[in-house]
Symmetry: C2
Subunit: 351 residues, 2 copies
Amino acid sequence: MPVETIRWKGELEGCAELIDQTRLPEELVYVRCETPEDMWEAIKMLRVRGAPAIGIAAAMGLVLGVKDSDATDFDAFVQELREVKDYLATSRPTAVNLFWALDRMERTARENSGLGVPELKERLLEEALRILEEDRETCRRIGRNGAELLKDGNTVLTHCNAGGLATADYGTALAVLFAAAERGMQVGAYADETRPLLQGARLTTWELKQAGIPVTLICDNMAAQVMKEGRIDAVVVGADRIAGNGDVANKVGTYGVSVLAAHHGIPFYVAAPVSTFDLSLACGEEIPIEERDPEEVTRWGGRTTAPDGVDVYTPAFDVTPAANVTAIITEKGVIEHPNAQKVRAHVRGEQ
Amino acid sequence: MPVETIRWKGELEGCAELIDQTRLPEELVYVRCETPEDMWEAIKMLRVRGAPAIGIAAAMGLVLGVKDSDATDFDAFVQELREVKDYLATSRPTAVNLFWALDRMERTARENSGLGVPELKERLLEEALRILEEDRETCRRIGRNGAELLKDGNTVLTHCNAGGLATADYGTALAVLFAAAERGMQVGAYADETRPLLQGARLTTWELKQAGIPVTLICDNMAAQVMKEGRIDAVVVGADRIAGNGDVANKVGTYGVSVLAAHHGIPFYVAAPVSTFDLSLACGEEIPIEERDPEEVTRWGGRTTAPDGVDVYTPAFDVTPAANVTAIITEKGVIEHPNAQKVRAHVRGEQ
């Protein structure tokens, strides 16, 4: 198991602990989150990031927000729960798993409205831990399904970090590599460094090195050249939200990589759990795109890298049209050349 | 005049002074180069960079290397000159203007073999200053020719820095914007930050702000999204070497931008002096591509951004095939849809 990204410490009176990913690769440190405010900050500041991990974090954040509730009846309790839920939902707008996990937690409460408040709290902690456990299993299935698409000796380009650190422990895009390596296949990777926050340089290379998978770091703007030189057999990325027609929101830069992959005749795969689909959105244009703080672009390591007051445009995500996606890999299987009909059938299990 | 990138201070006994571009935008500092070793270091460490500016720097470096020569006859003098020339030629391999300027200096010496050594030294300083003066005029012509291709209200994407700082004072790609603005056109720019050394963030935004041209900084991986959103009317970049068929070597990332521009139906222009053409090379594959130190990618502002010992691939340049180039803009005019025949005719003045 490459990493334990997030965990619950102790019983209901315990707290969440998560790897502070902003401090990698320099040091591997767990931070404690004892309140929903702690968790909100950890999500906002990207101490925990990656759509599936954010879902787990939000579920635990909700537990932190209600475990000390003084409510004595269900209505008062669920009112408090909704307030914490609305608060946590403001931490990041794009990853649908955040909302999916929060909705699932509220639904769990409502389905157990007959329980007393103490039992309800226990039930919610169990549900958060179930989300985490399910993610472990989901990611392993994604890995197995994705490994089928690779051949021995393949080299994969990935963007950002859709590894163990983006999930409970095994990843989505990187799960494909982990699973291929576990089967004894020789696979390697190029990692886009992924500006501005360098998740590729800091996190993806770190994980792959730990797993013994050969990895070469490049700047984002070198991806085209690396493809042109014939070094890449497939692109595999994660996703933060997938619209009903198969359009994929993922870390900014993914869309450009998809255009470059198509130009060079390289398959472009998206690996994500079914919980990443948002069938309420017909297409990617409806996905809200978070804009980040310009200082993430203009400052690094205490040094200013651009003139004071320069205008900066810094969307955190972009949308890759389904037409650029060779296949979406989920725990249920593979959707080749995704479209609205195939996505609906896949998500609803009609496949 | 936006900047004075490089200048000669005093008479023959003087020295070269150049803006230390590694310290921009935090401080505008001139460093003195009193020996060819100083100049070699300044070119290698990118204190002075940009193909035309490197040519001027190399010519001045040659003067620094021979001005104190004790040689009393031409043959001994030209032998010393060749040694300095060969040394300076090792500073950076890709920008052809470096070799062009050094060859021109040697030719000047040979054409004046009848002069005494003291007069020859004076003649070489004059030639270096002539290269600088010609660059000023060349860049203004490039700007005027390029401005014809823009419309009022256009926004241009540029990559790296092909501005005044890459030349004597006016730039190549940015000259197009400067000239358009001088005509009263409303033009704006997006600047790719240009990893790893952030010439776009540090230098291009600084120059454009000084010139009062609106500029928005983006990370390299956001260029595709910015194009998709319809924010870009044209791409204009510089060049470090252009092969006989119109293939263009420029800062790594340029090739990817050219693919993205073609995909979005956006014209892709290359602005460069005629001295950038290397007709000895049939196509771009023959252009030597410099690989830089991995630490330029893995360290920033004293902070490590990747695990120790990670493999890094860091070509400094890439090659954009002529097929992706809408037009090359030079001081002589515009080569639309360049090919070998058009390039030869243009360079030889048959156009």
